[in-house]
């Protein structure tokens, strides 16, 4: 019989996954006095060693190509200088995609997960985002209203720190903001162009500290948030939540711990333990607890439930409704770049600022009735004098060709003249988009893997077309010309490949009706009282606002509820 090593200690809560959802759960639960164990499938994070902040390409002999020139052969997964926290492919941990479908699954394996590098765009869902079915008859309404979650958006913003300004827009609810950051030159041009086109373009809402809070240093404006921030001036769950929680003595972190299944008591039906593989030794371990929080990411959390089968739960745990793995969504992505001659010869200055945009375009056509597609999108803006990287000027080489002085001058002339627009829109959940257990395949630890099904509908394709028209209009209003797709490797002619915007959600949805949903309004499973979900899996829809701030808000609320219920003896 398989030897499983059991922990002697019984923890109040085991949290699985250390990203925005798991990190927030750890923060809230330990601050409420709970004893918590955190399982992370990757290694511990060492910011001073792991983050390549301030390193210039020429300080590394391969300049960022990778030790074996991986970049030049498309084998580098994510930029060399980026925080080491995520991959499109993980050695020994495959997934499959059903024939005729396209989907890419980005996963992270390190303490802090994707929060070490993510874009940190922090947008509240709007009141109508919680009522999609009531608004246009598509999808389903959430069991939660904006007013119920708003206090938790407040807490999330005040804790992680979000820049912004009060604008009074229904499509972009105001929050508790840190001071905004001044727009860069190209962003001023975009704002002026948008003004002419009657499109709002407002200061961005980003989780970077324009002011020191909670002992974290203010931003030093190097623009390299994507590499990870050594001073923790950009939010990451690892630095802002988990490291401080470790100091309380109430958190124990288990790294290299890949959860295999949840163990339930056949009599009570409650979760009593989590079985995981210790990757370093490939031994099976068991950790006992009074409650479990899943924060492994939408699809990984669904996979764990589907793999936790028992006679009492033949379809997987907490899946009597059959919805686990269903309603998978990603944001609709479309990007277009423009060349802006007005920026040629621009007086040089440091345009780094915070990593990412200083202004953005929130959805502006909510009240327009005759649109060709439902719902909406927001627009992210890129540009400025970026640090030159390998590949920065391949576009110039391809377009200009030649060599010598003329090519050298062409690169100089075009430096800083490209402005990028990326649309991020709402996908309507559909029956063709879901993940399930692949019956034929296990990973290197013997855990059955996910198989993905994914299809855009006409709604999304028409929305992406509208993005193209809008971006073209803005570029031309700026006196520029359209260059082409901003992200050709991740976007086809019309729309992004499913999964590549890395906003997976919906696979363990919440709802009032246990026959049609897996979770109640507190992200607690209908079937198992002491099992909760803290990532984007509970989300009933995929509003056009990146999910992370909402993951934090919902995880915060869920954690308070869990602690309170445990105190009352209800869990």
């Amino acid at each position: 019989m398989l030897q499983i090593i059991r922990s002697p200690k019984v923890y109040d809560v085991v949290v699985i996954g250390s990203g925005a959802g798991g990190g927030t759960a750890v923060h809230v639960l330990t601050s409420m006095g709970m004893n918590v164990a955190l399982l992370e499938a990757g290694p511990m994070l060492h910011p001073q060693k792991d983050f390549k902040e301030h390193v210039l390409p020429y300080e590394v002999d391969h300049r960022g190509a990778g030790e074996h020139a991986e970049l030049y052969f498309g084998r580098q997964q994510w930029g060399y200088f980026s925080a080491p926290n995520g991959y499109w492919d993980i050695n020994g941990e495959p997934y499959t995609v059903a024939p005729g479908n396209e989907f890419r699954w980005f996963r992270s394996r390190i303490l802090g997960g994707r929060t070490n590098h993510y874009g940190r765009i922090s947008l509240r869902f709007s009141d109508y985002d919680f009522k999609p079915y009531s608004t246009d008859g598509l999808g389903d309404d959430w069991p939660v209203t904006y007013d119920e979650i708003a206090p938790y958006y407040d807490k999330a913003e005040e804790f992680i720190g979000v820049t912004g300004t009060k604008e009074g827009l229904r499509t972009a609810p105001d929050g508790k903001f840190l001071p905004p950051i001044a727009p860069r030159v190209h962003e001023v041009l975009v704002q002026k162009a948008c003004q002419r086109l009657n499109i709002p373009c407002i200061p961005s809402r980003m989780a970077m500290l324009t002011k020191s809070i909670h002992g974290r240093a203010a931003c030093h404006y190097c623009g390299q948030c994507g590499r990870g921030c050594r001073t923790a001036s950009a939010y990451s769950s690892s630095q802002a939540q988990i490291f401080p929680a470790m100091k309380t003595g109430r958190l124990e972190v288990f790294t290299g711990a890949m959860a295999r299944e949840l163990v339930t008591d056949p009599n009570t039906g409650k979760v009593t333990a989590v079985n995981y593989v210790d990757k370093a030794t490939r031994t099976d371990q068991q950790i006992r607890c009074r409650a479990v929080v899943l924060g492994a990411s939408a699809c990984e959390s669904a996979r764990l439930l589907l793999n936790s089968k028992s006679s009492r739960h033949p379809n997987g745990l907490a899946n009597s409704s059959g919805v686990v793995g269903r309603y998978l969504t990603d944001s609709v992505g479309f990007g277009l770049s423009g060349y802006i001659p007005a920026l040629e010869g621009l007086p040089r200055h440091n345009s780094d600022g915070i990593g990412g945009m200083h202004v953005y375009i929130p959805w502006w056509l909510f009240d327009k009735k005759d649109k060709e597609f439902p719902r909406g999108y927001h627009v992210e803006i890129g540009g400025g004098f970026h640090m030159p990287q390998l590949g920065s000027f391949h576009g110039v080489c391809r377009k200009h060709e030649g060599y010598g002085q003329v090519l050298k001058e062409a690169v100089l002339k075009g430096y800083g003249c490209t402005v990028g627009f990326a649309g991020r829109g709402e996908m309507i959940p559909n029956e063709h988009s879901y993940c399930e257990i692949d019956p034929d395949r296990v990973d290197a630890y013997g855990i059955p893997v996910l198989r993905f099904h994914f299809r855009w509908s006409e709604h999304e394709i028409r929305q992406a077309r509208h993005m193209r028209e809008t971006f073209t209009q803005i570029i031309e209003t700026m006196g520029g010309r359209v260059l082409g797709l901003a992200n050709p490797e991740r976007e086809s002619e019309g729309i992004s490949t499913g999964g590549t915007i890395i906003h997976e959600a919906g696979t363990i949805r919440m709802g009032d009706d246990p026959r049609k949903s897996a979770l109640n309004k507190y992200s607690q499973t209908h079937d198992v009282r002491n099992l909760f979900v803290a990532d984007a899996a509970p989300f009933v829809s995929q509003p056009d606002k990146n999910v992370t701030l909402s993951i934090i808000a919902f995880s915060w609320r869920m954690s308070e509820h869990l602690a309170e219920e445990m105190r009352k003896g209800n869990v």
Partner: protein, 205 residues
């Protein structure tokens, strides 16, 4: 936190950078870009000690690569060439670690010599500068695609991309572009003169 991958001098410099950052958060403007530059300077010094010994290419191949590098990114009154920017050693180093890349270069360089030999009776290196540029004028453009020139056009696209990469990721190339970032600032602002410059040149003025 373990810093065993960093040498002592750089570690100290980075530590100083950290201290400067925390002390000057109330100050104005750029505070410690000089410290950042100091760190980079130390690293550059270490790297440029002693002449580079090719690890992949033979002396003739390497000399040819050097000539191609300066033809692609030459020196002018504002900046030095791709040779000084380290393009030949960058390409040699990567080729020494990746066979696929090594074959692209050894094959491409041999093709170049064969082709110019056929036309002018000498290797690329020994050919007159006008003969060298006449050859490049053929393979630097996709419009000249033919069964005869195809391999050269594809090879030149590789060399051009990698020489341009090496050039603009070097200090020489970054200075040429006027890159002023990668600093640490207590406050972010945009020069009004730059905003006015762009607005005046745009249709939005």
């Amino acid at each position: 936190m373990s810093d065993e991958n960093l040498d002592l001098s750089r570690r100290d410099a980075l530590r100083n950078l950290g201290i400067t950052l925390t002390l000057t958060t109330a100050g104005a403007g750029v505070v410690s870009a000089q410290d950042a530059a100091h760190v980079h300077h130390l690293v550059t010094q270490e790297k440029t000690a002693g002449p580079y010994q090719p690890k992949c290419f033979n002396p003739h191949e390497y000399a040819t690569l050097r000539r191609l590098s300066e033809l692609i990114m030459p020196a002018d009154e504002h900046s030095k060439s791709a040779i000084e920017a380290g393009a030949p050693e960058f390409i040699d180093l990567l080729a020494s670690r990746n066979d696929e890349l090594a074959h692209i270069y050894t094959g491409g360089l041999a093709w170049l010599d064969q082709e110019i030999e056929r036309r002018h009776g000498s290797t690329f290196l020994a050919a007159a500068p006008e003969q060298q540029t006449a050859m490049l004028d053929l393979i630097a453009y996709r419009k000249n695609e033919s069964p005869e020139l195809g391999p050269g056009i594809r090879f030149f696209a590789w060399v051009r991309n990698m020489v341009v990469d090496a050039y603009f990721t070097s200090k020489i190339g970054m200075d040429y572009l006027g890159f002023m970032g990668n600093g640490a600032m207590s406050h972010f602002s945009v020069p009004q003169a730059a905003i006015d410059y762009a607005l005046k040149r745009s249709p939005l003025a």
